[in-house]
């Protein structure tokens, strides 16, 4: 138990440090990413997923991976994705970045953090109402890309290709509007 706490703190410090340095805790940069002005943060996120998926494949072949695939609920995951997108586009923070940005000293992130705690508490109170209504009836299970491709390595290749194309598209279409970055 004690070891898990130290692993958590260590992992969190490393994670918070990197996302601050790349600019993900800066809501101004996040807004510019959403407005298709600056593509660095979405490229960073997509590339981190590609590399993590390859790394996880290695961990699994070594037999030391701890995985837990969340189920897909067509309605709950979909409604949540839309609501989350509204909140993310509106304030420029997501749950992880609020902690690092609050630690960095951004006061607006402290309020996002307090709002987030309130939102989590309200959902926890209403869990018994929403989960049977929106989640359970539309739960299609813990499906993964490997169910379609037949094998995990093939699915990682597919993920790499699709995310790689997304990074390329962001590189082409996310532009400084004053023409400082002409194609």
């Amino acid at each position: 138990m004690g070891a898990q706490i130290w692993l958590g703190v260590f992992s969190g410090i490393a994670f918070g440090f990197v996302i601050q340095r790349v600019g993900a805790t800066n809501a101004n940069i996040m807004a510019r990413a959403h407005l298709m002005i600056s593509g660095d943060i979405p490229k960073f996120m997509l590339m981190a997923v590609i590399l993590s998926a390859i790394g996880l494949l290695g961990l699994e072949s070594a037999g030391v991976a701890n995985t837990r695939v969340l189920p897909t609920s067509l309605v709950a995951t979909g409604v949540a994705g839309i609501l989350f997108g509204i909140g993310w586009g509106f304030c420029g923070y997501c749950p992880g970045t609020t902690w690092a940005a609050a630690g960095e000293g951004r006061m607006d992130a402290v309020f996002a953090l307090i709002g987030g705690l309130a939102g989590a508490a309200v959902f926890a109170h209403l869990h018994e109402f929403f989960i049977p209504l929106l989640y359970d009836p539309f739960n299609v299970g813990q499906i993964t890309l490997a169910d379609w491709t037949g094998s995990k390595p093939a699915a990682v290749i597919l993920l790499t290709l699709v995310f790689g194309l997304c990074i390329g598209a962001i590189h082409l279409f996310w532009k400084e509007k004053n023409g400082s970055q002409t194609p």
């Binding site: 407005l35 902690w99 990682v156």
Partner: protein, 175 residues
């Protein structure tokens, strides 16, 4: 905005992605899928159970999460420490109101803080409905090739892009 000057303050995205992926793979080896919205639930569980232990015991959403004595809470606390350490050792300017928000809505702190409180409320409510957030569902899920993570990821990016356009209008283009 002087691009050259501002970009030198931040790490370039590609090496940063390697660094973050290294941390994520380390977390998969030593804990499991990384998550941060769960840390909010652990925080609330730890806080609420000190005043209303019976309430917490009978709530399924709290029952399925560990309290503050857990990796999940240690991780979000660590993120705040990491953000603090990175902020103190770097030259990235810290503002209470982002420039783009100030250009659009003025420099009222109350307005910005109310907006981020509301935004934080919505994202955590939504993340708990889906079972995860940008990290716990999109990044962790997609790393495990989960359809839930990819589906959530497409929606949050698409809707956030539309929302940002509605919120900032033409201000974003002028900046």
């Amino acid at each position: 905005m002087d691009k050259k000057k501002s970009s030198s303050l931040y790490w370039p995205w590609l090496p940063a992605a390697f660094a973050l992926a290294g941390i994520i793979v380390f977390i998969f080896a030593t804990f499991g899928p990384p998550a941060s919205s769960s840390g909010f639930v652990s925080t609330m569980k730890g806080a609420v159970q000190t005043v209303a232990p019976e309430y917490v015991e009978n709530k399924p959403h709290y029952a399925m999460m560990p309290d503050t004595g857990s990796w999940l809470f240690a991780f979000v606390l660590g993120m705040a420490i990491g953000g603090f350490a990175a902020g103190r050792t770097g030259r990235i300017p810290v503002r209470d109101i982002p420039e783009i928000w100030e250009n659009r809505f003025g420099n009222s702190r109350i307005k910005r803080f109310a907006a981020t409180f509301a935004g934080g409320f919505i994202i955590l409510f939504a993340a708990r409905l889906a079972g995860g957030c940008t990290l716990g569902l999109f990044i962790s899920g997609s790393t495990q090739l989960a359809v839930s993570g990819l589906y959530f990821g497409v929606l949050i990016f698409a809707v956030a892009m539309v929302t940002a356009r509605l919120v900032y209008g033409s201000t974003g283009k002028e900046e």
